[in-house]
């Protein structure tokens, strides 16, 4: 094979590869447009002055920031003052969700770390039994026992309350130990043994050796438990029933789309959705590596 021949082959190959890449660029661009369309459309609607649900134009004909303001306060022209938005107190819901999310994140993180440390590092007689029970409990559909949970909360006098919501979320956290257990499993056991020889108790090992090494998983656990109340609709809607005061954002926003309200409140819904989606999206994009590791059981190193 002469040099010129191989050069021609190379350039032919390069041209083919270039053509393939251009096709891929085109496909990717079309896909990105399809995938981003609903989200950009939602953002556009949230800035729209008209209250159209199905506009012919993609961009709003009239730009405004009112939808965002009206989530928190509505201008009452008769009283000449800002008043609370009546059927949908978004600010209150935001505060509710934030309180529930912070409380349940703190308690759940503690619970998950405790359980996964015990399962990962400690060996005791009932360990296997507990692990099996955890596996079995996890296979029941989450909201199958919703009605019973409601009854129990009623007995404790906590039905339709935020405290009840925090308790239910935190109690359920005991089953979400897999990811952090997987993380603890990767910390070398020789560390524990060295500390044990130096006379450290298991309690000290937990606080002084394991926890400082586990910052990423603590952050991950705290963030996931913080985020889950923002997106939970099923349980909250059943648990709070008609107690609007204690709704979280997800339930409140869903109700804005009820047939009675959608015509008047659609753009406000869009604004409310954008407002909570932005921070959650940013957090998720930052944490995507942990998410992957969680799903594939730590198989991913990259």
């Amino acid at each position: 094979m002469t040099n010129t021949q191989s050069a021609a082959m190379k350039s032919g190959y390069a041209a083919r590869r270039k053509a393939a890449n251009i096709i891929i660029y085109v496909i990717l661009s079309i896909m990105v447009i399809i995938w981003l369309f609903p989200i950009v459309w939602l953002v556009m609607r949230s800035f729209s002055g008209d209250n159209l649900i199905a506009p012919k134009n993609f961009f709003p004909t009239e730009w405004t920031f009112d939808n965002y303001i009206n989530l928190f306060a509505v201008w009452d022209s008769e009283a000449n003052a800002w008043v609370d938005p009546d059927p949908f107190p978004y600010g209150k819901w935001l505060l509710n969700t934030f309180i529930v999310a912070v409380c349940s994140a703190v308690i759940s993180t503690l619970i998950i770390l405790m359980i996964s440390y015990a399962f990962s590092r400690l060996r005791f007689k009932t360990r296997k039994t507990f692990l099996n029970f955890g596996l079995i409990l996890g296979m029941f559909p989450g909201f199958m026992s919703m009605a019973a949970t409601y009854n129990i909360m009623e007995i404790f006098g906590l039905k339709q309350s935020l405290v009840g919501l925090v308790i239910v979320y935190s109690a359920g956290a005991g089953l979400g130990y897999q990811v952090s257990k997987g993380f603890f499993d990767t910390i070398p056991r020789s560390l524990d043994e060295a500390a044990k020889i130096d006379g450290a108790t298991r309690n000290q090992i937990f606080w002084v050796i394991i926890l400082p090494l586990s910052k990423p998983i603590i952050v991950y656990t705290a963030l996931t438990t913080f985020l889950s109340p923002w997106a939970d609709y099923i349980f909250v809607s059943y648990f709070m029933k008609d107690n609007q005061e204690n709704y979280t954002v997800a339930v409140g926003l869903y109700n804005m789309l009820e047939p009675n309200y959608i015509a008047n409140y659609f753009t406000r819904f869009c604004a409310g959705a954008v407002l909570i989606a932005v921070p959650i999206t940013i957090l998720f994009v930052i944490m995507q590596r942990f998410y992957v590791a969680g799903v594939t059981g730590g198989a991913v190193k990259g």
Binding site: L36, L135, F143, M144, A250
Partner: protein
């Protein structure tokens, strides 16, 4: 088929084989599940039997203190001067007796009151507080129903407190056995001439040898009250007639045995037909939803990760953004967009009944398509990481042997990814059986049809369960469906477990 046959197959054949063995494995997995449950029960009873043996041995070998602690808890510890521990055991016994006498015991008796009832109701002069007779509906009896909140029995409370009392009793038995063990242990230590642990040392052991008790006590108690208790309650409800006609307080529900299961499978024509249709659609849905996301997600990841494609981070982030926005937001937006008079139809100038087509064809296609929109970025995200893990030398040696890009994909990339993600594939199949969000937010199970019992054409088992709980208050039927979903998920989990074990043995990629 043995290993040799398997290795000789092409990738496509292996794929078909795996698929076939997955579905053919389902009955086997169910049998296995039953046998595992049987084994579990058997080992449970042998554990109890062993417990009794040890219990008897400890009693016959025990001294006075140990023997006394079989009746008065903590006595053995008192005799051997472990005052604090003894007091705790005694307190547990007293607390349990007080609880049972003042509160718990009545529910144990009421659960079987008149043999078959869950409770009694005060109905003026007609039934008395004996409650309805088995199988007889109190609504059909004449007379004034007096609902007095002080005297009326609430079936819900009776069942709930019954389960609670049983759990507390189990906990007490555990403490009781621990008490006899502790008494015997301290007796043996004294007999061997050593000094028993002081209270301080005992406490300290909870930070070291018994640290797991400290760590797990609170989470386990919370789980017992708020997860285990409701699940057991719901399982019991599956065997009662707790439906919209039997709502406590004011009405009773009672045991009906396996009637609800029979209803779902064959007795009740409407319910069993609804169940059959929904089960079929659930499986069809899970199949298409899983494989469409899986294959296209991998293709997307391959395109983004292809050599020579620039701005990889940008492309990936664009798709990750759509995965990151909370699902209820994106799905509600999709519902609005795809409405009959929604933006898509108005922009295209068409009139497609995406979500409302009464024949159910359009909605079924739409939910699968929208699910692809939701799920492909996730698969892309996960398989991107896996693609980077494929050893580069595999490709190099393939190129040296003259393999083209397509061959490299079918011989290296796809088998590798398929090999690594088989467990994920099955998990996501089970996940799609339970995929509440996509269906509920898009169609809410609709379009509703008269031939379905409280359900619509796109309802999955889980959304039907939800509707039965929330809309029609048919708690018993919902509980039955929940149990069936549990069985399906458990079978799926077992298959995953078996396959991941099997694939480890194959060592295709070692």
């Amino acid at each position: 088929m043995d290993y040799l046959d398997y290795v000789q197959m092409t990738t496509g054949q292996r794929f078909v084989y795996k698929l076939k063995s997955f579905f053919m494995g389902i009955p086997g997995a169910i049998v296995k599940l039953v046998s595992i449950v049987g084994h579990f029960i058997a080992s449970f009873f042998s554990m109890i039997a062993n417990g009794f043996k040890g219990y008897g041995e400890r009693f016959s070998n025990g001294d006075t203190g140990t023997k006394l602690s079989y009746v008065i808890m903590g006595a053995g510890n008192f005799v051997h001067k472990q005052i604090g521990k003894g007091l705790l055991f005694l307190a547990a016994e007293v607390a349990y007796i007080v609880y049972m006498v003042s509160f718990g015991f009545q529910y144990i008796t009421q659960i079987y009151s008149t043999g078959v009832n869950i409770g009694g109701n005060i109905v003026n002069g007609v039934i008395g507080n004996e409650g309805p007779i088995y199988g007889q509906d109190p609504d059909g009896l004449t007379g004034d129903v007096i609902i007095n909140s002080d005297t009326v029995d609430d079936s819900n409370k009776i069942l709930l407190f019954f389960v609670m009392t049983v759990l507390i009793t189990i906990a007490f038995v555990v403490v009781y056995v621990a008490n006899t063990k502790s008494a015997y242990a301290v007796q043996q230590i004294e007999q061997s001439g050593k000094k028993p642990m002081s209270a301080m040392e005992e406490l300290r052991s909870f930070l070291d040898e018994r640290f797991h008790v400290t760590l797990m006590a609170i989470p386990v108690i919370l789980l017992l009250i708020f997860t285990v208790l409701p699940i057991i309650f719901t399982i019991f409800v599956a065997f009662t007639n707790y439906d919209k006609n039997h709502q406590p307080p004011g009405n009773l529900y009672w045991w009906v045995g396996f009637e609800n299961f029979a209803d779902v499978f064959y007795t009740n024509k409407m319910k069993s037909e609804t169940f059959g249709k929904i089960l079929l659609w659930t499986i069809v849905w899970a199949f298409f939803a899983t494989f469409s996301n899986y294959i296209l997600g991998i293709v997307l990841a391959l395109m983004i990760n292809k050599k020579g494609i620039k701005f990889k981070g940008f492309w990936r982030t664009m798709f990750v953004i759509t995965a990151a926005v909370p699902q209820f937001v994106t799905l509600l937006v999709m519902r609005i967009l795809l409405d009959d008079k929604g933006a898509i139809n108005s922009m295209l100038g068409t009139n497609i009944p995406f979500l409302t087509d009464m024949s159910g064809v359009w909605p079924k296609i739409t939910v699968i398509l929208v699910n692809m929109w939701v799920g492909i970025p996730y698969t892309m995200l996960i398989s991107s990481g896996l693609l980077m893990n494929i050893p580069e030398d595999l490709y190099e040696s393939a190129r040296i042997d003259g393999a083209n890009a397509f061959q490299q994909f079918t011989k290296i990339t796809f088998p590798y990814i398929f090999f690594v993600t088989t467990p994920y594939l099955i998990t996501s199949f089970v996940g799609n059986i339970n995929n509440f969000n996509v269906i509920y937010f898009l169609t809410a199970g609709g379009p509703n049809s008269d031939s379905y019992y409280q359900a619509g054409q796109t309802d999955l088992l889980v959304t039907w369960l939800y509707k039965l709980t929330v809309n029609s208050s048919d708690y018993n039927l919902a509980a039955v469906i929940g149990l069936l979903v549990f069985v399906i998920c458990a079978a799926g989990a077992l298959i995953t477990f078996n396959m991941s074990k099997a694939s480890k043995n194959e060592e295709e990629f070692s």
